[in-house]
């Protein structure tokens, strides 16, 4: 019996998709399932320890106000870092897409992507050297300015925001750039020919058309920042305790993997909830 042409095409599609599905299964589905399993255990199931299935780890989140407080603190950090990144990244992307042409653009692009090629830990430690009292920033400011300034940003929320913005800024620049690049220049020319000012063009033509790219970048930043732990721990010092650092403690210091896994799933649920709430806005921006 000959295979029906439609069936053959379906087979072909399946064949093309299977590497992607295999990858999703191995890299995302299996680890997540393992963590979900851990999160409903009473103890780490190694050796002779007594363990049973329980929801006490999830209950801990509701019973101990510390976790909710920290989660709210992390969400606020995520919003702040996203906002700063968009404010800094969008103008940068605009210059790259619409103002500069040719060789200079390639060079600038390279400079934007360069931080991605260095190890994130190295980047954070470099910031530590710059930001601390009597550090690079303070010394160079004092060398230029006629009066003495005292800059010690290390171990503050500002230091955490600076470190995170630096780490994630390329995402927003790249996605905004793609959005801006797609805008037909003749639309801008048309607006100008009809007497629109620069601000009107930005607000009525460029921003609405570039919004999907900017929002994609914002989501890409917001999600990892809410769970970040390395930057707050190193740059935040005493004020650097966030939801992510508490999860890290459960895995690294306290060895309470079930609680750490449960807290991670609460974070996942909250982030998905926020994205679901924001999805009407996101969908509107796409059309």
């Amino acid at each position: 019996m000959a295979i029906h042409p439609a069936g053959q095409r379906r087979l072909g599609v399946l064949g093309l998709l299977s590497p992607a599905y295999l990858w999703l299964t191995v890299a995302i589905f299996l680890p997540l399932s393992a963590m979900l399993y851990f999160s409903v255990l009473s103890d780490v199931p190694f050796g002779d320890t007594d363990w049973h299935y329980s929801l006490e780890n999830y209950r801990a989140f509701w019973e101990n106000p510390v976790y909710a407080t920290l989660l709210w603190k992390s969400v606020k950090l995520g919003l702040m870092v996203t906002l700063v990144s968009v404010l800094v990244g969008f103008p940068c992307a605009y210059v790259l897409a619409k103002v500069i042409r040719g060789r200079a653009r390639e060079t600038l692009f390279l400079l934007v992507i360069l931080p991605f090629w260095s190890n994130s830990l190295v980047r954070i430690f470099s910031w530590a050297i710059v930001l601390r009292g009597n550090g690079v920033l303070e010394r160079s400011l004092n060398a230029i300015l006629p009066f003495e300034v005292d800059v010690n940003l290390m171990f503050s929320t500002a230091a955490v925001v600076i470190g995170l913005v630096h780490s994630y800024l390329p995402y927003v620049i790249l996605t905004s750039y793609l959005g801006l690049q797609a805008i037909d220049d003749s639309l801008i020319d048309a607006a100008r020919s009809m007497g629109a000012g620069k601000l009107t063009i930005l607000a009525r033509v460029i921003l609405p058309l570039a919004l999907p790219g900017v929002l994609a970048g914002a989501v890409l930043i917001f999600v990892p920042v809410v769970g970040s732990f390395m930057e707050p721990r190193i740059l935040g010092g005493r004020v650097g305790t966030y939801y992510g650092t508490v999860i890290e403690d459960q895995f690294v210091a306290v060895f309470n993997w079930p609680l750490g896994a449960a807290l991670s799933f609460v974070l996942l649920a909250v982030v998905l909830g926020i994205l679901a709430l924001a999805s009407p806005i996101l969908r509107k921006a796409q059309t």
């Binding site: 190694f46 050796g47 407080t69 603190k73 009597n134 010092g237 508490v246 690294v252 306290v254």
Partner: protein, 343 residues
């Protein structure tokens, strides 16, 4: 018949020369992995030594539970030896074959925490203090009281380690309580809450601590005695202080897992580790105090461990850490996490 007996005798005689690979589980950079020491041990006995490291006692216990047979010598803090023995992880040790064991004084050798069930399960190896050090560039009058941590003069220049148990016991000493039997946990919480605004950042590793001291960001910070000795020998401007209120003391033992397949070679390695000759050389690089009286006595007079920890007044002030119950451990962790989250 005769031939077989002869062969088996030969095999028996050959056993000590048989080269075993001993696998040690310890903190990184904590004595057993000194290159010159393991090399000399390999030359003397033919046994090679490899290492695996842990970053917390919980991790050490988990590694032993999950990898039976993977380790031959494990460093266990005396506060955890009983738990390891109750879980059946470590074997009883007969000290008779160790020629250096005689140098260990009775109060160490018969320490109840190292002798769960009345049998030796950890050979007393090192002990030391968790107290604090000051940066001598900034602090001219060496303080004698732990209350210096709450002195407004050092606001933003103070640090303690990010560890719930250590933080709580530190505050217990500052509020005049027994670290092993804290009656007033509320006082501890208030004392730590008052300490928080003074803190620059928490430290995590000895390396962090050295950098913060070198850059002048810390002026007063908690530290282990052995680490302070190492920092001093590297030329950092630090002075270790054992305040009048006392300090936390700990005792580390070397144990042999029940599942070890090279128990004889492991015992030989432990004997090597408590050897005064090894200890004197280690001490010159900065080491904790030796639990072996003979090794401590062999130190030169100017040695940190002889000057500071050999002082009977100091020894009288310190409180040795005992095992901590699971409920208390959890309560301390919650207290510390809540304080950190409130910042």
């Amino acid at each position: 018949m005769k031939l077989a007996a002869l062969l088996s005798t030969a095999a028996l005689m050959a056993t000590p020369a048989l080269a075993d690979e001993i696998r040690v589980l310890n903190w990184q950079g904590y004595g057993t992995d000194l290159g010159w020491a393991t090399q000399a041990f390999a030359e003397a006995t033919g046994h090679s030594v490899t290492h695996e490291y842990f970053n917390s006692e919980q991790e050490m216990l988990t590694k032993m539970r999950t990898n039976p047979g993977a380790y031959d010598v494990v460093l266990i803090n005396a506060a955890f030896t009983t738990q390891a023995q109750e879980e059946g992880l470590i074997a009883a040790i007969d000290p008779a074959p160790m020629k250096n064991f005689a140098g260990i004084p009775a109060n160490m050798a018969q320490n109840p925490d190292l002798n769960p069930g009345g049998a030796l399960h950890g050979v007393p190896w090192t002990w030391g203090l968790t107290s604090f050090a000051v940066n001598t560039n900034d602090v001219k009058d060496i303080p004698t009281t732990i209350q210096v941590f709450w002195d407004p003069e050092y606001k933003g220049k103070v640090s303690i380690r990010d560890d719930a148990l250590e933080a709580v016991q530190f505050a217990a000493i500052a509020t005049g309580q027994d670290i092993n039997d804290i009656q007033d946990l509320e006082a501890v919480r208030e004392k730590l809450a008052a300490l928080m605004p003074q803190i620059k950042t928490y430290w995590g590793s000895e390396n962090d601590w050295n950098q913060f001291m070198a850059s002048g960001e810390f002026e007063v910070a908690t530290i282990w005695s052995g680490s302070a000795a190492r920092s001093q020998s590297k030329g950092l401007p630090v002075q270790f202080v054992v305040p009048q209120e006392g300090a936390i003391a700990w005792l580390d033992g070397l144990s042999i897992p029940e599942s070890s397949t090279h128990k004889e070679a492991a015992l030989a390695f432990i004997d090597w580790m408590i050897d005064p000759a090894f200890y004197v050389k280690w001490d010159a690089e900065g080491a904790p105090a030796s639990a072996n009286g003979a090794a401590a006595a062999a130190l030169p007079d100017e040695s940190f461990n002889k000057r500071v920890l050999g002082d009977p007044d100091v020894v009288a002030r310190v409180q040795f850490q005992r095992p901590v119950s699971e409920e208390n451990r959890k309560a301390y962790l919650e207290l510390w996490q809540a304080l950190k989250a409130a910042q």
